[in-house]
């Protein structure tokens, strides 16, 4: 009963003073609750990022709303994404946390995924790079990479490690895909066991689990995935600036940057996926006051010493992206030529049987 009357009171308040409140970012979220949908289970990378942001965001948004993170899991994130697409209002009271690979799935239009990047606006994102290593006994010197023959590469969900797949594709390495791994952790163990010849890991697990193998001499660092700028020039990963990126390694062997469709696709995937490994989205048709208030909250949050101190490990040394910094994400999304995306869809469909809607 109490719940009902409170709800009625809120409703009445909303009707009587509605317009004035709804237009003003300073009051839009006053005494409200923001729900953050996390489409993956507790404890994973996306969940940790989403909960970390949720923990601090509320106190920085004007009006100090309560922010509650909720895991809506199932079907590899589709359940949560589809709920955000179909079952919640675009009023800014519900946000969506995605991984970089989830963003790519939305971007490419994975079958059964009903949420589209066209309907979303990023409010904050955290980047995360990846590094590839190879069994030490397979190559003596970097030039040998080009000669490798049918090396084993573990595959989880193919879209989930697309930047690693496109790196070997763009390099022109012949590989044998071994399916059935649950996550990158499993492929790492299989790599340590010697069953897999090559592995690509996020920077933190690379530093903690693969570096010791490199030091003991059983593995060699091959390349960092890294980033590319608007002109396609390699940009090193800020967390591992000493490791050359894939295109740099290619250039040192062949004297020029890679070319071709796999290389074009690689640039799209590497930049989109790695810049947005954790992204908090809001519907882009939410009221302007709501979106403005959220951006104001993020801008204030990233100045908070406590927030930064608590996030040192969650962010793994990468700088959080917000406000104008998110332009890089938008640039990749806007500038990706449709034929490159088509090629990427065809590649994932033909090689791995992944289905897309368009």
């Amino acid at each position: 009963m109490r719940l009902t009357s409170t709800a009625l009171a809120t409703l009445a308040l909303g009707i009587s003073t509605g317009p004035g409140l709804a237009d003003d970012p300073e009051t839009y979220f006053e005494d409200e609750t923001i729900r953050v949908i996390i489409p993956f289970s507790s404890g994973g990378g996306t969940d940790t990022f989403g909960r970390y942001i949720s923990e601090y965001l509320g106190e920085h948004i004007p009006g100090n709303p309560t922010v509650v993170a909720e895991n809506v899991t199932g079907a590899g994130g589709l359940m949560g994404a589809n709920e955000y697409a179909n079952a919640v209002d675009s009023d800014g009271y519900t946000l969506f946390t995605a991984s970089g690979h989830m963003n790519l799935r939305m971007f490419l239009g994975l079958a059964d995924l009903e949420l589209s990047l066209d309907a979303l606006e990023p409010i904050v994102a955290g980047p995360m790079g990846h590094v590839t290593a190879i069994q030490a006994d397979l190559i003596d010197e970097p030039e040998d990479i080009a000669e490798l023959d049918s090396i084993t590469k573990g595959v989880t969900d193919p879209v989930g490690l697309v930047e690693a797949l496109l790196a070997v594709e763009a390099f022109g390495i012949d590989y044998n895909a071994i399916p059935g791994y649950d996550g990158r952790g499993d492929t790492r163990v299989a790599f340590e066991r010697g069953e897999l010849d090559i592995t690509t890991q996020g920077t933190p697990p690379y530093l903690s689990n693969v570096m010791p193998l490199v030091e003991e001499g059983t593995a060699q660092t091959l390349w960092a995935i890294g980033f590319t700028d608007a002109d396609g020039n390699p940009v090193r990963d800020p967390a591992v600036p000493d490791i050359p990126t894939m295109p740099e390694v290619y250039e040192s062997i062949h004297g020029e940057l890679p070319s071709g469709e796999a290389w074009e696709a690689y640039q799209v995937a590497a930049n989109l996926v790695q810049n947005t490994r954790g992204t908090m989205w809001v519907h882009n048709d939410a009221p302007e006051a709501a979106r403005e208030a959220l951006h104001m909250g993020v801008a204030s949050m990233v100045e908070d010493e406590d927030f930064l101190a608590a996030g040192e490990e969650v962010l793994a040394g990468y700088e959080i992206m917000h406000g104008d910094g998110l332009e890089e994400v938008n640039r990749v999304m806007e500038e990706s030529p449709e034929e490159v995306l088509d090629w990427m869809r065809d590649f994932l469909t033909e090689e791995f049987g992944v289905e897309f809607d368009n």
Partner: protein, 502 residues
Amino acid sequence: MIEAMIEALFILLDPYRLSMLFLGVIIGIGVGILPGLGGLMGMALLLPFLFGMDTYAGIALLVGVLAAVPSADTFPSVLMGIPGSSGSQATIMDGYPMTRKGQAARALSAAFLASMIGGLIGAVALSAVLPFARPIVLAFGAPELFMLTVLGLCVVGVLSGNRPLKGLVAAMAGLLVGAVGGAPVAPEYRYTFGSLYLFDGFSLVIVALGLFALPEIIDLLARGGSIARRADKGAAGTGWWDGIRDTMSHKWLVVRHSLFGVFLGFLPGVGSTITDWLNYGYVVQTSRDKENFGKGDVRGVIAPEAANNSREGGALIPTLLFGVPGNSAMALFLGAMLIFGLQPGPQLVARDLDLLFVIVWSLAIGNVLGTALCLVLSRPIAMLSYVPFVYVAPFVLLIVILGAYQESRHMADLVALLSFGVLGWFMKRSGMPRPPFLIGFILSGLAERYLWQAYSIYGWAWLMHWMVIVIAVIAVVLVVSGVMLKGSAQGKPQRPGKEDAP
């Protein structure tokens, strides 16, 4: 090493951290007792509170949950024949028949003492083996893990008792139902009929609750009265001490299964459910007088209970060394470690030795606290089995439904629960054993995945790996000896009351 160990003890003895450990144990007991909720749920509840918390206190809190759940989940398994969590399914086999005979207190105290010893062995093993564990974990590749799933399937023979054909059919049906959802080695979906809910396949919690809990509730209500038969009530008062004595007199059994539990916990990809059933199969197969198994043999309680507590110590090894979680609760633990900025991996062992020992001490102390609390509680809680079931049923039903629903919070969870409940009831009525169904269900995806990986990496050469051959021999011995023993048992007169066996 010893220095770090003592230092870690003092780190943990700080009143705040100790109280967090205690809180973790209490929460672990709470979620363990409630059917369907397990360590995963307990840790998920705590995760949001970890940001900004003292690292050692947070770790103690989580390990407290981990240590207490495999003890507390024994209550519903023994008292009502309902799996308390995925790690206590085999306990039902003999624990529940003991309750029906009025020996609930005995079964519980035996289970908890075995759990306590198992948990301590697990903690010791964790600290002793961790420095050398890497090569052992790495020795188990896809072919070896596939053979372990085959071994698991062979246990079906043991669990089917004198109904091997029905057991086989149940196991096959389990394999089939386990194939629903995303295929393990290809991006395709099987038997999902376009429903997103089925993309992940059925949840183990829902299948287990449906198969075991609903049929039991229905039958108990239909029969009327209490769970334990009144006629045997005389035995209840002394039961508690009997259980303690049972476990003491089977101390080597406890040690053996604790070590087996640690070993299985070691291997990433071997979940708590398989650990439980493999241990049960192991104790039945190696006991000379096995006619009482399934009808209330206390050894059938002691063996899986010792193993499911010790396995937590073992399961921490791949989690800490490789950053690969052995199960979903461990995945959460891993997530929590990342919140504290602890990257699991070989250097964790070298660099953060004090943290490692804080985990070991938390596991040991949490385990003793948890089992001691359960031991104290077991006497009054065992009295529940004498309460007329009509008073208990609504509460149990509510908890079971909540347990199923919290898995993914979709309405379809309830439909799935009901469907498996109906299936379980028909199986129970027609004398078709349900554990083989469960084992087939769990191993379906794993067997397919490891077989495919073994073949794509090694071709047919995987068949010649020495460990593959060893496990194959064990599996053959298990099946053949089972058949031969059964053959000799056929000569004896059939025992009555088999329809009560789960």
